[in-house]
């Protein structure tokens, strides 16, 4: 039985400085969101790491919980030394509630080309304490948990 689901929200940025409004319904069977990861998927091919290509703000449960305010970065093209860690969240999802927010592109104009970003929401279909969805619960990592066990891609 699968309890953990990685719900993905993909955003397509087509013009420099674009602001994308997000109104997304998370499936009702998902009860909790336990982590998130935002990453550039494809499109940009910078020669060097871009520490900021945009800002993401997300509110859960019909604007009731402002949970995510994150800078989105883009590694250098063909860079292999990038790490992907899920940031820990613990949000009880109301059935049928909307995930709302905005994404604002801040990519330097010289580096811009249309691109995609993906927001991965690690969700569980179980209530709190029914299943430990944090793989590193025993470790002292208050701010992030290592999704990729050890140093994947590092």
């Amino acid at each position: 039985m699968a309890y953990i689901s990685y719900h993905i929200l993909q955003l397509k940025v087509e013009s420099s400085g674009q602001t994308i409004h997000i109104n997304h319904k998370i499936p009702a069977y998902l009860k909790r969101c336990t982590g998130f990861l935002v990453k550039h998927t494809k499109g940009l091919k910078p020669n060097a790491h871009l520490p900021e290509i945009g800002w993401l703000n997300l509110q859960f449960n019909n604007l009731n919980e402002n949970a995510i305010a994150a800078v989105v970065a883009c590694p250098a093209h063909l860079e292999v030394n990038d790490c992907y860690d899920f940031q820990t969240l613990d949000i009880q999802l109301k059935p049928g509630a909307l995930l709302c927010g905005i994404y604002t592109d801040t990519t330097p104009i010289s580096s811009f080309s249309p691109y995609h970003i993906s927001v991965y929401l690690r969700c569980t279909s179980l209530e709190k304490d029914a299943y430990n969805t944090n793989p590193n619960a025993d470790k002292e990592q208050p701010y992030s948990d290592s999704f990729y066990q050890e140093d994947k891609l590092c």
């Binding site: 039985m1 699968a2 309890y3 953990i4 689901s5 990685y6 719900h7 993905i8 993909q10 990453k39 998927t41 494809k42 093209h77 063909l78 292999v80 030394n81 992907y84 995609h116 993906s118 991965y120 299943y131 969805t133 793989p135 999704f147 990729y148 066990q149 050890e150 140093d151 994947k152 891609l153 590092c154």
Partner: protein, 132 residues
């Protein structure tokens, strides 16, 4: 009998942007799927490539899930390469369904020339185990 097995699923990608359906069955002698690792022959093929996965018709990864999150480079030790499933996933002859979508943009293919790197074979490794 051994407690672990690494079952391989091979998928041949013939052209950029191609989406391929995957069907397989896990080895009946092993109780659970412990982890997954996806191997592509070149680093450049990883960007944008996506893998959706269902086990016994239950969605594990959506079709938009990036292969980059399920693979690792040579700098990672062999016994740490796998993405481990945090929960128990039944193996024991489970039906595996999936969809592999190549990450290259179709419009980048010049004319009728076969683009560099194609066709290639993607390998999906499932770590099967009898341990809890």
């Amino acid at each position: 009998m051994k407690k672990h097995k690494f079952q391989q699923i091979r998928v041949t990608v013939n052209s950029p942007g191609e989406a391929l359906r995957i069907t397989a069955q896990t080895d009946k002698q092993y109780a659970r799927i412990r982890g997954i690792y996806v191997s592509l022959p070149q680093e450049s093929l990883i960007a944008g490539t996506m893998l959706g996965l269902k086990v016994n018709n239950q969605e594990i990864f959506e079709d938009l899930h990036e292969v980059k999150l399920l693979t690792s480079g040579n700098q990672v030790a062999p016994n740490q390469k796998f993405f481990l499933f945090e929960e128990h996933l039944d193996a024991a002859g489970s039906a595996i369904e999936g969809r592999l979508t190549d990450g290259a943009a179709l419009e980048t293919v010049p004319g009728d020339l076969t683009p560099e790197g194609y066709p290639y074979e993607a390998k999906i490794y499932l770590w099967l185990s009898n341990e809890n």
